[in-house]
């Protein structure tokens, strides 16, 4: 291990000394390829972020892949309906590790203005682990850029030796919900989401017979 004094001394001479882990993370954070996948109006803001005015390419994240096989990041941009939720989870399962999720907008976080809808999933984090949440309805492209930068920060702090993706025993597949009679089954993945203690899901409760 090289000490910081020597490191900065070398840096003054134009020699950069970095650790393998830094190089590994730098490579990963500089080329986060998102899945080309939009669900609602947030996707329009996502497209704007990728286009010339906001230019997501400055952060190496402009290569939207049309297949989950090549994607590192899933930007859940929009309302996740209960009809769509199984597909979202399936696509996330098909992405190679290491993979990340950004929940973009109020709908992806909690159901947003459609939270009371019978057909809307109340937050995508009930089924897949979300790394960055972006509030807003819809969030502006700058907010998405901020989320990408936040994700880059998270990636920089990760360690190879403690990583989930080289751990053969770590969970790689998240169970895909099925459409039940009244709600998705199961209504949430307990591994990634636990209801708050004072939580009662009135809108999702199965109808009870009146006494």
């Amino acid at each position: 291990m090289i000490d910081d004094g020597l490191k900065s001394e070398l840096q003054k001479q134009g020699v950069f000394v970095v650790s393998t882990e830094w190089l590994y993370n730098w490579g990963r954070k500089s080329s986060i390829w998102p899945l080309q996948f939009g669900l609602a109006c947030c996707a329009i803001e996502m497209i704007a972020a990728a286009a010339a005015r906001y230019d997501l390419a400055r952060f190496g994240a402009e290569v939207f892949r049309a297949t989950p096989r090549q994607a590192d990041l899933m930007i859940v941009a929009g309302t996740v309906t209960k009809k769509m939720a199984p597909q979202v989870v399936r696509l996330f399962n098909q992405m190679p590790e290491p993979k990340y999720v950004i929940a973009m907008g109020a709908c992806a976080i909690s159901g947003g203005p459609f939270k009371d809808g019978y057909n809307v999933l109340k937050g995508v984090d009930r089924y897949i682990p979300v790394d960055v949440h972006i509030p807003g309805c819809p969030p502006r492209p700058e907010a998405l850029l901020h989320a990408i930068l936040t994700l880059q920060e998270k990636i920089t702090g990760q360690h190879i030796d403690r990583s989930r993706w080289y751990d053969a025993k770590a969970t790689t597949e998240f169970p895909i919900p099925t459409c039940g009679e009244h709600d998705l089954l199961p209504p949430a993945n307990p591994e990634v989401w636990q209801p708050p203690k004072d939580y009662t899901d009135v809108t999702n409760a199965a109808p009870t017979k009146k006494a």
Partner: protein, 159 residues
Amino acid sequence: MTDRMPVRLFPPAALLTSSGNLVRNSTLSQRYWFAILIMDSYSTQYFFVVVFLGAAVAFPLAPLILSRLLAPHKPTPIKTDTYECGLSAKGDPWVQFRVGYYIYALVYVIFAVETVFLYPWAVAFAGLSLGSFIAVMVFVLLLVEGLVYAWAKGALEWK
């Protein structure tokens, strides 16, 4: 300028370089005969081709090998599934197409070939002789004959 050298895998008896200098078979030239070959201008050009070939093979191979070494390999049934838009695949991907499309493709060939030949002919039309005009007309007639045959056989009707 002698630029053709006998290329031999063992140390040659004597080397004639491009500048016309004869390098006799001394102990030095026996040891460094390959270096003398490289210094020769004609061989130098081939040496660069060899370097280029090596680089051309190494360049795509390096990321393939690196990704094999670094990428976490975690196949699961869902990940290795056929289809990629989020839905599970249904049915057989080996669908059969109607044989009628095949006949249409064949008839299309008549017009495709005709266009390819007639365009350059039409561009140079003003400067062509009567003979070349007749030659192209024969060619067009041959194709028209094919079209008439296809028409008569009912290949232009969708059944």
